[in-house]
């Protein structure tokens, strides 16, 4: 079993790094200028959050943040598979952002009370910023989820495709019991309960239907280094400059 702190931090940091990079792929491609800027800004926030978390890992004896971010291969990553999927169409990216950031805001609100004080400090900072991400997601889910028939059909299809991956956010590891008993975090099960309530409240204001989550099979594996074929090419691209010249400044 990995040390509970490291286990938790790697999952948090890798989610931020990978989804941050995926969000940045909307740079220059957003359906409207404001969305281009929004996804790019959220990318910048998430990379900033991942850096804070990799710095905590470094304080605990892990390698430098850049080394940790840019030299590992897919099987050494602990992100959930939801974060690594290609950006696809805007409906998918938006629904992923909605499902992920609702969980993320609740996660960091809970982590603000973590018994591990350095993590609680980072969480108190990050949770305020995540409110803007959730506000953004809610605005667009409500707007498109009540718009034309085409919009509603596409958003519903994206929701149904994405939900099994979103349930993979809450995949646990061997360290789960210790993480909860030592007060590091409330645990994935409790987080999922809060998340369901949170997304249901928004979806209820739209024409979208939340399927019965108990009937879905979560796409798990990410927390244990099992990833889709999409992660390694992303890592290769992210690390291209670093691998050519680790001292490059850009």
């Amino acid at each position: 079993m990995m040390d509970p702190k490291l286990d938790l931090l790697y999952r948090l940091a890798d989610d931020q790094l990978i989804l941050g990079h995926r969000n940045s792929e909307w740079n220059g491609l957003g359906p409207i200028l404001e969305e281009d800027i929004a996804f790019s800004s959220m990318a910048q926030d998430k990379l900033g959050h991942s850096l804070q978390l990799y710095m905590l890992l470094h304080e605990l004896g892990e390698a430098e943040p850049d080394t940790v971010a840019f030299t590992r291969n897919a099987p050494q990553f602990h992100c959930c598979q939801l974060t690594e999927l290609p950006i696809g169409e805007y409906d998918f990216s938006l629904i992923r952002h909605f499902l992920f950031d609702h969980a993320e805001l609740l996660r960091f609100e809970a982590l603000a009370n973590s018994s591990y004080e350095p993590l609680a400090l980072v969480a108190r900072k990050v949770k305020g910023e995540l409110k803007y991400h959730v506000l953004h997601a809610n605005t667009w889910v409500k707007r498109l989820g009540t718009a034309t028939e085409e919009a509603i059909t596409r958003m519903q299809a994206a929701l149904e495709f994405t939900l099994p991956y979103a349930l993979g956010i809450f995949e646990t590891t061997d360290a789960e019991n210790e993480i909860i008993s030592s007060g590091l975090f409330i645990g994935e099960k409790e987080l999922q309960r809060r998340w369901e309530a949170s997304i249901s409240k928004v979806l209820a204001q739209t024409a979208l239907t939340l399927p019965d989550l108990r009937l879905l099979t979560p796409v798990a594996g990410g927390r244990h280094g099992q990833h889709t074929e999409h992660l390694q090419p992303l890592l290769d691209e992210m690390a291209e400059v670093f691998r050519l010249d680790p001292t490059a400044d850009w």
Binding site: E34, I37, D45, G48, L51, K125, G128
Partner: protein, 161 residues
């Protein structure tokens, strides 16, 4: 003798790299200034947003400015210990933001950052609150974009957080 007040006064010359009308002291990102026994100075900064790419510039500008005043040793630290909130912007700082054409963040006074607060902004041109949040993400992480229904113009706001 070198005092904290003197250092803070010198640091008034160090402005936000993108908003030249506000000093880092008035922005609230300088959280602590301490004169050490050996005459060195310690300055603690905190980012407005965790992913702020300007932190290294701010840190460098603080060091350069204090060294130009003859401080032999300047130590800076970037820390989240005392995390930034928009309430840390001083009144002079808020005036500086307005001079740059930016709406100021509403005071939170320790209260919750809820939707009403995120959507509220006073137009920096005509001062009406007949405005609407267009997008919470602007040209930099710390700015949101609003629309003034009276001026019929877009304006930027320094985000409440």
């Amino acid at each position: 003798m070198l005092t904290q007040a003197q250092i803070l006064d010198w640091l008034q010359a160090v402005t936000d790299p993108e908003i030249p009308t506000i000093s880092l002291v008035d922005l609230g990102v300088i959280r602590e200034v301490r004169v050490e026994e050996d005459g060195g100075v310690y300055v603690r900064l905190t980012p407005t947003f965790a992913g702020c790419p300007a932190m290294d510039y701010m840190r460098r500008d603080v060091e350069t400015t204090l060294k130009a005043h003859g401080i032999p040793r300047v130590t800076t630290e970037i820390s989240l210990r005392d995390p930034w909130t928009s309430d840390m912007v001083t009144d002079r700082g808020r005036e500086g933001l307005r001079r740059h054409g930016l709406a100021t963040p509403p005071k939170l006074n320790g209260g919750l950052l809820d939707l009403d607060i995120l959507e509220y902004a006073e137009c920096p041109r005509c001062h009406t609150t007949n405005t609407e949040l267009r997008t919470p993400f602007g040209a930099t992480l710390c700015r949101a974009v609003h629309y003034c229904h009276d001026c019929r113009q877009i304006f930027e706001q320094f985000k409440p957080i």
